[in-house]
């Protein structure tokens, strides 16, 4: 039994060459490696053929409704946040065919779509996104009815988390308790360090498969000093978050402010375009589309992303249940921050800031929550 009180040096250190080996090794083991890369003036998530495609030397400038790539002198690969996609694009794809049916000689044959999904290795999962994957795990596979599409893609996925040392102006994971240090759930975790001692990554494994891969990488021992520097870098990121969620019981706040005038105010600014929900790494809603061909002998059922900002989303006989922008924005916010707890036992928001960045008219979930909080806290008697 150890009696020392200082944390032991854990994990190992790899250089840029080690990262390149990691990508090659994962590919050689049959994984489809997905990670950040520069495309269309943004850092997007896409399949990587080699670590050369990582966004070395690129950072981002984030604000509500605003995203710009910025060159970085330090050459860091993971000094960015809140890209236009999240891992949900791969685990819970925007379109999937569920089955097809053929009619011939009066016989109907229904064929389930069971094409085996690729085995993904995700490189660069931020701590907030690691939590978002756990949230979707609960939603899509944690209940009585499991989603086979998600499960098939998720069960074989290898997650390489990268802790945050460079939060964006729209990040608030620290106030949601989801980052900037990586929580459980990763196979490997990295912390990127670029300083006088060079460009390197502190690497730890979180699963037997992760340990196995780590053992095959060209590593050097992690000194106490490296571990400490990395922990410091992550801890200081927590103090540099651009946004915070009000420090209150959000579930109660949402339930108690359903009549707040602020909902009309935000509705006057909201385009109901649905961008916030579609970029959110935890929003999971879908709709069903049936297609037939001209002969009517061939039919397919597709599942596609849908969100609560769509009028059709709440369409019943006689019209939509949530026709107003007010009711649709309120559905989104109260679900994310309130009723998600009742349904799934956690917050539906992990503080990644994507909905703030990718809202074309700069509506900010933390600002809206703060305004509701102020209203709830108003002196008695005020409207």
């Amino acid at each position: 039994m150890s009696t020392t009180t200082t944390p032991a040096a854990e994990g190992a250190v790899i250089g840029k060459d080690g990262l390149a080996t990691l990508v090659d090794l994962l590919r050689a083991r049959g994984f489809t490696v997905v990670g950040p890369t520069v495309r269309d003036g943004a850092i997007v998530l896409a399949e990587l053929e080699s670590a050369d495609q990582l966004p070395y030397g690129w950072g981002v400038e984030l604000e509500a409704g605003h995203y710009r790539l910025r060159e970085r002198e330090d050459g860091a690969a993971f000094a960015h946040a809140a890209g236009p996609q999240s891992w949900k694009t791969f685990l819970h794809p925007a379109r999937v065919r569920q089955w097809r049916a053929e009619r011939s000689d009066g016989q109907l044959v229904i064929e389930e779509d069971d094409t085996p999904p690729p085995r993904f290795a995700f490189l660069g999962v931020r701590p907030c996104d690691l939590r978002a994957i756990a949230v979707q795990d609960r939603v899509l596979t944690g209940g009585r009815h499991r989603d086979p599409v998600y499960q098939g893609r998720r069960s074989g996925a290898f997650l390489v988390a990268v802790e945050c040392t460079e939060p964006g102006a729209t990040c608030f994971c620290a106030s949601m308790g989801t980052g900037p240090a990586a929580g459980p759930g990763y196979d490997l975790a990295l912390t990127e360090l670029v300083d006088a001692d060079g460009h390197r990554f502190w690497i730890r494994s979180g699963s037997p498969e992760g340990a196995d891969i780590l053992a095959a990488l060209p590593t050097s021992a992690a000194s106490e000093a490296v571990c400490e520097t990395a922990r410091q870098a992550v801890a200081s990121a927590a103090d540099r978050m651009g946004r915070t969620m009000p420090d209150t019981d959000l579930r109660r706040l949402m339930a108690g402010t359903l009549d707040a005038p602020r909902w009309d105010d935000v509705a006057s600014r909201c385009l109901t375009c649905g961008n916030c929900t579609m970029v959110c790494p935890t929003c999971y809603c879908t709709t069903t589309e049936d297609v037939t061909d001209l002969t009517g002998d061939h039919a397919e059922r597709w599942r596609v992303w849908d969100v609560c900002f769509d009028l059709d989303f709440s369409q019943l006989h006689g019209g939509p249940v949530r026709p107003s922008a007010r009711s649709r924005y309120r559905q989104w916010l109260t679900h994310k921050l309130g009723t998600w707890y009742d349904q799934f036992g956690s917050s539906g928001c992990v503080g990644c800031g994507r909905c703030i960045v990718w809202c074309p008219v700069a509506i900010d979930i933390t600002e809206e929550a703060a305004a509701l909080h102020d209203w709830a806290d108003r002196p008695d008697g005020e409207p």
Binding site: V44, A94, C273, T295, W305, A362
Partner: protein, 281 residues
Amino acid sequence: MHADTRPTLAVWKFASCDGCQLTLLDCEDELLGLADQVRISHFLEMSGAEDGREPATLNGIGPYDLSLVEGSVTTEEDVRRIHHIRRISRRLVTIGACATAGGVQALRNFADVEQFRATVYASPQYIATLATSTPISAHVPVDFELRGCPIDRRQLLEVITAFLAGRKPNIPDHSVCFECKRRGNTCVTVAHGTPCLGPVTHAGCGALCPTYGRGCYGCFGPVANPNLVAMVRQLRQDGMTGRDIVRIFRTFNAASPEYAPVAELATQEPPEDPHPPETPQ
């Protein structure tokens, strides 16, 4: 020989550029399959004959199971003809911005047609025209309106297929942003400051312009309940002047009633933004 039991299809043209009808002819891979399922009875763009008998007339013979109508109503004769076509069609579907919203020719609705007539034509006395260009639905009941300038090929096939199968066409009513995000595009407004009408524009094109790095210019017309106050404010923020804003809404769907407030919104002093975004450092 079996009697021909295929449903009959007719394609009609009013004031338009023919682009939407051409979309049907563009369905090269599907056209033969389509001809197996329907009898294309009346389609002057494709054939001068009506069910093999020449010449076809502008009025057709009918009746038709499905009529696709392109173009807007701009003359007295158009008014008479659309009522006739409605009478001889079981289902009537409008195709494109002209038939659905009046088209770019509806710019006349905002101006003096007499002046146009006098300026443009050498012998204005031969020009018989109405003062307005109006959508088909302003004259007769319409079973379905397909948007776009021009319409999208896949959507046209979907509408025809749905009507053949007797089901509702799968044509979503949401904004272009939905298609843009499902396609995995990077938003051109947020990442590049490019003005984009996607948030107030009806889906259907598959977010074609943003996919190629351009802003949407609204050729599919308005989405249901567009928030034009917020959209106009954002377009200004992205650098458009009031005049540019009026112009971009006054194109193929100029006469859409949803766009009516734009002229006033874009020309008045920009209202104070209740929550100005923080300027990034």
